[in-house]
Symmetry: C3
Subunit: 273 residues, 3 copies
């Protein structure tokens, strides 16, 4: 059924409001266009509510967080909730500074997220919470491998139950889950971590997939994660001996541009736990 | 005569001050270098007047507008006017929020622009104006096609008369006009809209063309629009089956880098109305 | 011995905190990954001390300076000094505005830099200093050529003595020197100046090299400068007739990704003065 998820993106051209970091913002815009969506970037408190109102979904990424944009993230998130728009959180670097951790926790308190996408370390930080935000049990390994997969799935389900969001933990094996059903995804290539912002790009694309598929959020997130990983595989095959991470970045976005629903359906490698 | 327009850019290396958005800023810098100009990006109120003074032209783009940079745009614009430097306005997203619409209108009130470049929707927003800024008749279709071209040309000429700026409306057919003469340009490829920032890039390049050709502003803008479209065509031909919007972006900037005055002269497809 | 410098980067994966401009930040992140390091970008005063504490080195670049980030640069720089982390300064555009010149001089007063990397014009501005910051004799030519090389080397050594930093002046010939020993480097290609941000990228990469080689800072900087130039040469050879500055940018980062210690050792072209 991942085929239908992508078809819906292509047919409805979801307009996504992004409040995101300035490092990877151009790649986020281009991958949204590549997958079939349309991007708007706007982060000023004076316009974020209006901008999010004309969009279909919202993507909040704290990668280069600053005190000017934190209130804008909160305002946009609340407005999107009010309008029933799906909202994605990418808690980049949560755990690396109190500002990031506290902001991510505050966003979780004040905004209902449809999806939270990050690596296991960021997710553990959010799950543990702070003094006032009591968290779930985050006593889980620091990387998701075959050995730690069951444990990580249990953690992710519990965190989904607590937040009400679909949880997408990406790494060597990706986990996409709600409180009940978990997709364990084995698409992707290790070299994707040598490109800045593949995670940010996936979060932006995820916002497009869930906006286009409001009745199948879990499946839409899993489809987006498979699509990113599959395109990472296809792009890796395209690399010549002279290519490195810069060309790889371009090839992945190119692959997302050219990905057909049939290829996604055939190429998705996952199991349900 | 477009040949001479490009030759002048290459011979004079116009230095362009850009106050622009953080989404497409890197592509704007690279396309300025590609066409033969030179970029400076500076947006702090504490330095924009000095920076614009050492440049030849100014490019203002409201793509990721924020309250910190609005006063900087106004100050830089006024300074450029005082020095007789040409100024380009790219009213990205005017109409999408009050902040963007009001800021664009305020800029139009306080700064004399040499060129305003946007899509038909942004231009209509500006032409209608606000309560205090009475606008021209913007009862024109929402896209420029063969059927609506005459109407759109009339609208653009009227808006040029009102603002004193050359108006460049880009879309399926591009219109470049002052109050009297309109170039209707049919270069370009529809897939350019699948890349973020081709409009922003064109505005930056336009600033270089008019700075290098101060006595032929209308023709310089038309030449820049033809150059961008022609490079979009050439780059499209270069694409293989694996290429998508990311490689297309690179190929367009590459094509601008390699464009010769003769190719521009031969490849420009326009009529005058 | 440049071979060992690169090997150390690859083996230790230095984490570099960047407070840098929004024009070239994505390329800085990707070149850090390409050379074997790892990037974090963070510029809010509320987190820069914490972020720099978890990193190995700091890279400060004033390319799109603004009043929000100046205090963050100072705070991060002082913290890095306190922790004994190496710090690189890239004084982009010093001399172009009082804000840039004054900020760069203030940074020099309050932070001990391990390396200052810029072009000859920026370096002269810093060396001359302001009223309160008396500078060294900066009566040196405006470009470094065979004719002016001895003079420029003497200037750079004097400036290194004054600041205690390794000085890297990049241009047609690059000079890397402490107060005693100067590497005069002839790697690179003139077309690198047609890409935005090759200087910024080099500064970021330099931070990775010195962080990985704390006991050989002078040699590590020279190795980074040779590596960037050599990759500029290799990437230039890869260019086809259709390629321009955008593909060249990608190819340089790709070349950094693929550069082996042996190639660097063989390809470095320098003499010591």
């Amino acid at each position: 059924m991942f085929r239908e998820m992508l078809e819906q993106v292509r047919q409805t051209t979801p307009l996504i409001h992004n409040i995101t970091n300035y490092v990877t913002v151009n790649d986020c815009a281009n991958i949204l266009l590549a997958c079939g969506g349309s991007p708007i970037m706007a982060d000023d408190i004076g316009e974020v509510e209006e901008i999010t109102s004309i969009c279909g979904g919202l993507n909040i990424n704290i990668g280069t967080l600053n005190q000017r944009t934190i209130p804008a993230m909160l305002a946009a998130g609340r407005k999107a909730n009010e309008l029933g728009h799906p909202v994605v959180l990418d808690p980049v670097g949560a755990g690396a500074s109190a500002l990031r951790t506290d902001t991510a926790l505050k966003l979780l308190e004040e905004v209902d997220f449809s999806v939270i996408r990050g690596n296991i370390s960021e997710m553990k930080t959010l799950a543990l919470g702070s003094g006032k935000t009591k968290g779930v049990d985050a006593d889980v390994a620091d990387s998701v491998t075959e050995d730690t997969l069951d444990q990580a799935v249990a953690f992710a389900k519990e965190f989904s139950k607590k937040t009400g969001a679909v949880i997408a933990i990406t790494g060597a094996i990706d986990i996409v889950t709600d409180a009940k059903k978990a997709y364990c995804i084995r698409n992707g290539h290790a070299d994707m971590s040598k490109i800045t912002g593949t995670g940010c790009q996936l979060s932006a694309m995820t916002a497009a997939y869930i906006t286009a598929n409001p009745d199948h959020v879990l499946e839409a997130v899993a489809a987006a994660v498979c699509a990113m990983g599959l395109c990472g595989e296809k792009a890796r095959l395209r690399m010549s001996g002279l290519d490195g991470n810069s060309s790889y970045r371009n090839y992945i976005i190119d692959a997302v541009y050219n990905l057909t629903p049939e290829e996604l359906e055939r190429g998705a490698r996952y199991e349900v736990r």
